[in-house]
Amino acid sequence: MKPAPNSLRLGPDERGHFGIYGGRFVAETLMPLILDLERAYEEAKQDPAFAAEMRDLQAHYAGRPSPLYFAERLTEHLRGAKIYLKREELNHTGSHKINNVLGQILLARRMGKKRIIAETGAGQHGVATATACARFGLECVVYMGAVDVERQKPNVFRMNLLGAKVVPVQSGSRTLKDAMNEALRDWVTNVENTFYCIGTVAGPHPYPAMVRDFQSIIGIETREQMQAAEGRLPDSLVACIGGGSNAMGLFHPFLDDPSIEIYGVEAAGHGIKTGQHAASIAGGRPGVLHGNRTYLLMDDNGQIKDAHSISAGLDYPGIGPEHAWLNDMGRVKFLSATDDEALQAFQLLCTLEGIIPALEPAHALAKVIELAPQKPNDHLMVVNLSGRGDKDIFTVADHLGGMK
């Protein structure tokens, strides 16, 4: 699939820009490393041995390809589009995060780095990173907001079992953005031996493009699987968006198929109007944070606002720069789902399909519940089921208890 000259899949430019978004807004200490990383990644991309090692790990360690599953009872229930779930929750470690982590850890090995750091919100990226570090015998330190440590305890325990050190971050709002600040502070201190494994399609160039490339396996498989199942491409794609890596992984291989509708679902928390949400596109504006320009939640003085979402993985006041650009281009339509809508969708999938989704993709499912009935029966809709919900059962139990 070589992109055409007018393709939407050519970005970023050589300086890491998607339109006005992206870039490399980092301290000078990190700049030489980021340039090194960019070089190392460009070399790895050209190296058939790197691709072969990735394919082997994807197949035998992560368990790819993940199934594209026709959700028959959900489809019957919603009486509209034919709904397929891309089962990323069946990957090793329980989410799409392993796709990116395997790529970055192989790259870290090529670069001779022995110490890996990562930030995590829900803990899925932290677990995936701890897993890959255990597999390759690398030291692993995961920064996690103290609030998230509390609400995602099972994942903290998993990371500890895998030999990673989890550092609870007490600064700021004590969630994902603060974990990222602290990881950057670690990186700037330990530049010599440390590789920063960023978990989403954000951060300074080349991270947004690199993470997207590693996650694009989701969309590439979906194309083939849908061709096999239905003899044609899907009509629409739906995915949840925090930083947006699962969404970008699904969307990117389809950006040049203009007839395919693409929906990104942000977390509306208690509702966009309440100000307590994590919807950077719906409620934010362009600014610069964590190495890139993108839509951010902030006040009129450029101070970053705390995000809110029931889902720790979406609880971030920014979004990947390529999503920001695709929004401005009008190629991806951004919607948002509230905490309550996500909880309802979560329960629906449990009872109709016997699948406990993570709260993150429950946001995507919440919009599928709205979108699917508006579509004809031959409309093929793919939802990225980016993670499984085991980690969320206590949060859900708390909320449902409260709703009674």
């Binding site: 490399r24 301290a27 200490t29 990190l30 700037v188 201190t189 600014g287 610069v288 964590h290 003085n301």
Partner: protein
Amino acid sequence: MTARIDARFKALREEGRAGLVTFTTAGDPDYDTSLAVVQALPQAGADLIEIGVPFTDPMADGPAIQAAGQRALKAGQTLKKTLALVESFRKSDAATPIILMGYYNPIYVYGVDRFLRDAKAAGVDGLIVVDLPPEEDEELCLPALKAGLAFIRLATPTTDDKRLPTVLQNTGGFVYYVSITGITGSAIPDTAKVIAAVSRIKHHTKLPIAVGFGVKTAEHARAIAEGADAVVVGSALVEAVRTSLDPQGRATAETIKAVTDLVASLASGVRAARRVAAE
């Protein structure tokens, strides 16, 4: 135009000593106290003044400066008020260079052109923006130079000889050498390594070189001043502010004195340095 900065370093050269650059956070713990602190700095021995622009997410700062920024934001400090603070300072001091140090987002949201106009009018001489490397010069550095403000770049232990020319291009006023790989106020720099790094950078530029990150005491300041043109102290000063506050986090009668006493001590350290041939 970096007239005030150039004049100050020329005067320091004539005196045959290194300068002391102080960093305090605008609005910490409140606007009036931070203005009074800044007004008292030159008398206490500060040769150049850096004023921190508070930001919610200061990625390159350690706990001390993070906390100072949080105190200032809680007290309602904004970029606009920081410019007002500089304007007030300039009414009584036309000579001491003022450098704003912070992160890009508050400036970006304020509007680059409007910010440069207002900063210039307020009497700001230079800018240090931590998250704008040379790769992003079009954002603020080039417009700042055009507006007549110095854009002071950080050079770090990871900035090798190959990269130094990139970092030094478009740098004005002075070069800020970050003495450690790390965040502000963390590790104590190895003086011998720092002095070697300064002399390495001197091969690439005629600009004065200030050294900061991790300098806390008069003795550190003296040791660094033997090889550098100026020594920057920040975390230790904002810690002096913090320890002077009452249990509710309000300024006390001790706050200004706590800062000026430390500045006086640091200044005596800088002035006691036996300068090696730094040229």
